[in-house]
């Protein structure tokens, strides 16, 4: 029976596996990113530069607007940008690039000879990296941004809690999307163009650069059927209290449906792609 091929046994192995095993991958992800001091410092500086650029752009835009623009006051808009970049420093990860690199180097074979589920390995590794970002990138960036730029507090305690769940969902969405893209490296080998396309698609469709309600209606309708707006737009709308708690909860629930769907899709795609390697050779 073809269903007995190894990805399924990998899943069984995953169920049996102790948490300790994957906790170790989280640790390794953390240690791995610590290895690059320069990348860390430039990371912080990049975020500050981005926030500064958007600060001046929006001030210029609002200079000609009569107090508010499509329901945003200048203070709200700046908070949107600042909080947006703070959570981006947390949810962003590069496992698609790392997977592409491992495929080109032929290291996927080395992963297959270890008694672990390769999918969970990547997921937990990304968790380690994001843990690192949260403590050493997001926290200092947030402090510096809050000191330099005006940031409004969250709309309410309830909104803040929902915002935190939504931001965690952003991370999971990014992992799921990057895992899907990274797996494409197995049949395609070179996915640099794909990674770049994804980068701009997400910068735009996540609502990080411009709130989505600035776009035409038709565009917003299409976007509401896609997962990307939950990466930044959803948590930021909740933070600013532009959605009622009930509506926020519905949005977060929808976001997690997307997380589940994309993780499942990633699992199926990975199973198919690895079955292809194990049958047709790498």
């Amino acid at each position: 029976m073809t269903t007995a091929a190894h990805p399924l046994t990998a899943r069984r192995g995953r169920l049996q596996a102790s948490f300790a095993k994957y906790a170790e991958f989280i640790r390794i992800g953390f240690v791995n990113i610590l290895a690059f001091r320069l990348r860390y410092y430039t990371g912080i500086i990049t975020y500050l530069i981005n926030v500064t650029v958007y600060y001046f752009i929006w001030r210029a835009v609002f200079a000609n607007a009569a107090g508010s623009l499509l329901g945003f006051s200048l203070a709200q808009m700046l908070t949107y940008v600042n909080v947006g970049w703070i959570i981006r420093s947390f949810y962003w990860n590069t496992i698609d690039q790392e997977m592409a690199y491992e495929v080109i180097e032929g290291k996927i074979a080395m992963d297959l000879i270890k008694p672990v589920s390769v999918e969970w390995m990547w997921l937990t590794r990304a968790m380690g990296e994001s843990g690192f970002r949260l403590i050493l990138l997001t926290a200092p960036t947030a402090i510096v941004i809050a000191l330099l730029f005006p940031v409004l507090p969250p709309a309410s305690h309830l909104h803040f809690v929902l915002f935190l769940f939504a931001a965690l969902g952003s991370f999971l969405l990014m992992v799921a999307i990057n895992f899907l893209i990274g797996t494409c490296a197995i049949p395609l080998k070179s996915i640099l163009a794909l990674i770049r396309a994804k980068y701009w698609l997400i910068e735009l469709l996540s609502g990080l650069l411009i709130p989505l309600n600035f776009f035409p209606r038709a565009f917003q309708l299409i976007s509401s059927w896609l997962p990307f707006e939950h990466i930044a737009y959803t948590p930021l709308q909740i933070y600013l209290g532009r959605l009622s708690p009930a509506a926020s909860l519905r949005r977060v629930a929808l976001e997690y449906v997307w997380v589940a769907a994309l993780l499942l899709l990633g699992h199926l795609w990975w199973t198919r792609a690895t079955r292809k390697i194990t049958i047709h050779g790498g």
Binding site: T9, K21, R27, I28, F36, A109, M110, P115, V116, G281
Partner: protein, 351 residues
């Protein structure tokens, strides 16, 4: 071979479908829409078994099917047909459970994390394979004694020399004390000292834990020093499977000296030397070839002629700028097997 083999392989085949790329721009455009496929038989109907504690050398020219066999034995590749039972598992069906009982080293690749200290990778592997802290410490102690790991445990892998990295990779593959160890070119690119380290280590492990080892190599010294049995594969088919002892006299007896003449003036002296050689070659091989203007190759049978004698004779006869002494390459040995020089009845290429 013991009665109850640890690894048994029956009628194993792996066929790949590859497509041929057409040349040029027009060909490239056609490739976009239509591909011509061709079946490549990387491994074709091989059968063997390996007993517990054996160390078996698996040799053959590049592209003969060695790595493909190892990949099937480690569960990375699914065979096209045939059976493998290794340590009670079917590798590709029970991958997660099976790989816990094997160690694998691919000489060209590392299983360690590139950017972090070696010890961090070892800690990770300890968790992955559920090795207790006590066993871990004990094995690290042993590995350190033989491989001298301590000096670079806190260095990132990317800063290690090839020999150091190889020692770490071997230790990593054996951390969970697997009954079976697969090695694909474990000594490739290493210097003599590093090779010796690795060989000593493999012998020590084999002796202490009765680890079964299957290794592929291009270095015949690896085989001579480690294996009592060898298997030779070419174009996907097994050419020879048996004790090394019998084959050694027939296969590993040939050495070659390559030497470069000092200048063009040497030609007449070389002709005289060649003449004297053919006069003295009454038994065994002694064959001089000119590879180009200045380079000559002298193949000889080391059981009938002593290497040092021969060098003395060369140096007396012609002025030489440089020379090297080498084993005959595996490709040449395989060629000789085909030509019927080694076996009374050569197996010949499979149809």
């Amino acid at each position: 071979m013991s009665a109850d083999p640890l690894i048994s392989v029956r009628s194993l085949s792996k066929h790949f479908r590859t497509f041929e790329r057409r040349e040029g721009i027009v060909g490239g455009l056609i490739n976009l829409f239509h591909r011509e496929y061709r079946i490549v038989k990387a491994v074709d109907n091989i059968t063997f078994s390996i007993g517990r504690g054996d160390m078996v050398g698996y040799i053959g020219p590049n592209g003969a099917g060695k790595s493909t066999t190892i990949k099937m034995l480690t569960g990375i590749l699914v065979p096209t047909s045939g059976e493998i039972l290794s340590n009670g598992f079917v590798p590709w069906r029970q991958r997660a459970a099976y790989v816990k009982t094997i160690g694998v080293v691919f000489g060209q690749r590392t299983q360690l994390w590139w950017d972090i200290a070696v010890i961090e990778s070892f800690k990770l592997l300890r968790r992955i394979y559920d090795v207790s802290q006590r066993d871990f410490d004990e094995r690290m102690e042993l590995f350190d004694q033989v491989l001298g790991l301590r000096a670079f445990l806190h260095t990132p892998v990317r800063k290690l020399s090839l020999g150091q990295r190889m020692r770490c990779d071997l230790a990593a593959a054996l951390l969970h004390n697997p009954p079976i160890l697969f090695l694909d070119e474990p000594t490739i690119g290493l210097d003599v000292v590093a090779k010796d380290h690795i060989r000593q280590f493999l012998r020590a492990i084999n002796e202490r834990y009765k680890t079964t080892v299957l290794l592929t190599t291009h270095d015949l010294d690896d085989i001579e020093q480690l294996c009592r049995r060898i298997m030779i594969i070419d174009r996907g088919a097994l050419l020879y499977d048996g004790p090394l002892a019998g084959l050694k006299e027939r296969l590993l007896r040939t050495k070659q000296i390559k030497f470069i003449l000092r200048d063009g003036e040497q030609a007449p002296r070389l002709a005289a030397f060649e003449h004297s050689l053919s006069a003295s070659a009454q038994n065994g091989l002694l064959h001089l070839e000119r590879l180009d203007e200045m380079t000559c190759r002298l193949r000889f049978d080391r059981s009938s002629v002593s290497t040092s004698d021969l060098i003395r004779r060369i140096l007396a006869a012609v002025e030489v700028r440089d020379f090297v002494i080498e084993d005959e390459p595996i490709e040449e040995i395989v060629k000789r097997i085909y030509s019927g020089e080694v076996f009374a009845a050569p197996p010949g290429p499979q149809p």
